[in-house]
Symmetry: none
Subunit: 131 residues, 4 copies
Amino acid sequence: MSIEFDNNLPIYLQIMNYIKRQIVSGSLTPGDKIPSVRELAAELQINPNTVQRTFQELEREGIVETRRGLGRFVTSEESKIMEIKKEMAGELLDKFVQGMKELGFGKDDIVSIVTEAVETEFKEQERKSFG
Amino acid sequence: MSIEFDNNLPIYLQIMNYIKRQIVSGSLTPGDKIPSVRELAAELQINPNTVQRTFQELEREGIVETRRGLGRFVTSEESKIMEIKKEMAGELLDKFVQGMKELGFGKDDIVSIVTEAVETEFKEQERKSFG
Amino acid sequence: MSIEFDNNLPIYLQIMNYIKRQIVSGSLTPGDKIPSVRELAAELQINPNTVQRTFQELEREGIVETRRGLGRFVTSEESKIMEIKKEMAGELLDKFVQGMKELGFGKDDIVSIVTEAVETEFKEQERKSFG
Amino acid sequence: MSIEFDNNLPIYLQIMNYIKRQIVSGSLTPGDKIPSVRELAAELQINPNTVQRTFQELEREGIVETRRGLGRFVTSEESKIMEIKKEMAGELLDKFVQGMKELGFGKDDIVSIVTEAVETEFKEQERKSFG
DNA sequence: GTGGTCTAGACCACT
DNA sequence: GTGGTCTAGACCACG
């Protein structure tokens, strides 16, 4: 696990997003233990308090659970995970479509732009996997 | 002109985006005069310093020009505007496609999701224009 | 015996309260044997150390007694039990009345609120016992 | 403003409750400015981070609002405040009635106990105000 | 001036 | 070992 931090966004949010993506995309599955505060802090070379905050927020969103003395675990409610996934996708979608509309792009423009973009995006991906 | 401010983003950035969108979408055309710092500050009920900063940034990006004693104007270079438009669209697109990929969505998922979204988004729009 | 654990309160305290309530309400009577550490730990699926701590505290409060080789038993001093009951009730009462006062409720408000609450609370109870 | 801290509860929670009580009971009214982080920290002789946390939580509950660069203010939504008041009262009530029931007290016991308690509690209050 | 974030390091309760 | 809280002090962006 390693993250390239972007200076414009708080670290704790970047880690949150990273973990949420891992859960939502299936890299972490329900019931999995996540690293302890101290472990992750050491690994990412950041302060334990920052990791602590990350985890607290994730817990507040109901995506991880604490078992006292044992550590933290990905929630076992699959439905919660699907909910988060939909929420995250919906946010991305909204921001994109709204934004493009405000820039003056029409219905068909948007679809064709995206179609082209995913084509090249996922082609690169394939090339990478053969590398 | 009125903006609902989102507390998570600096106000000056929100105004910048608002003005850039107006220019890019054609509501403000090259050579148009934009409001003075005092005017805009009064209208939006915010600190003149904040408006000042907005304009400084817009100037730095080459989108508005100051003519001493006359006020500030939208740049008359059409090419600059097209450049901004592409840049803004590219950012939106990247963030969206990257994000969806990270959530585990595939090429076809993304295209179909967008297709559906624009369909409903622009349908609502039409209904509104008839209101 | 099963307890839904609340993550905000130490488990050992929750078990303590559970047992104290059983004693005070008469489900466990003076002289009754209580489960062994191992038994209770297995039943509640928790760490034996935690149960051990529970019992130590109960002993410290004089509510249970250890008879070497025989196990642990509810104290046979009835007066002790009455004392505990009064103490627990007093705590509940104080916290409630103080709290309501601090929220700005008056004397009569509090009485009528409680009257209504017990009415519905015990009505539900009756319905349940007929189920 | 001064609070006697109880060592068993986190400081930030105690301050939260204190402020919530002030709002709910009308000592702080909608739109009022609350002290800045640094001010309150100095006044209560605690670390600014602890105050910061308090305010963040209050904000999350929607009971205070931040206006960037200006400070924090009690929410102007009266309904939100009523909601909080009901929630806090409901919690107190539930904990009390449930607790008393579990101790084996009946409907009428509870009502008469409360009646007596408020009588003495508010009599003391009166005596104090004449002091 | 305001709040937001982060580091460094400490102590505590719980399992 | 685990997480939860707190202090001390710093830097930054914002208005």
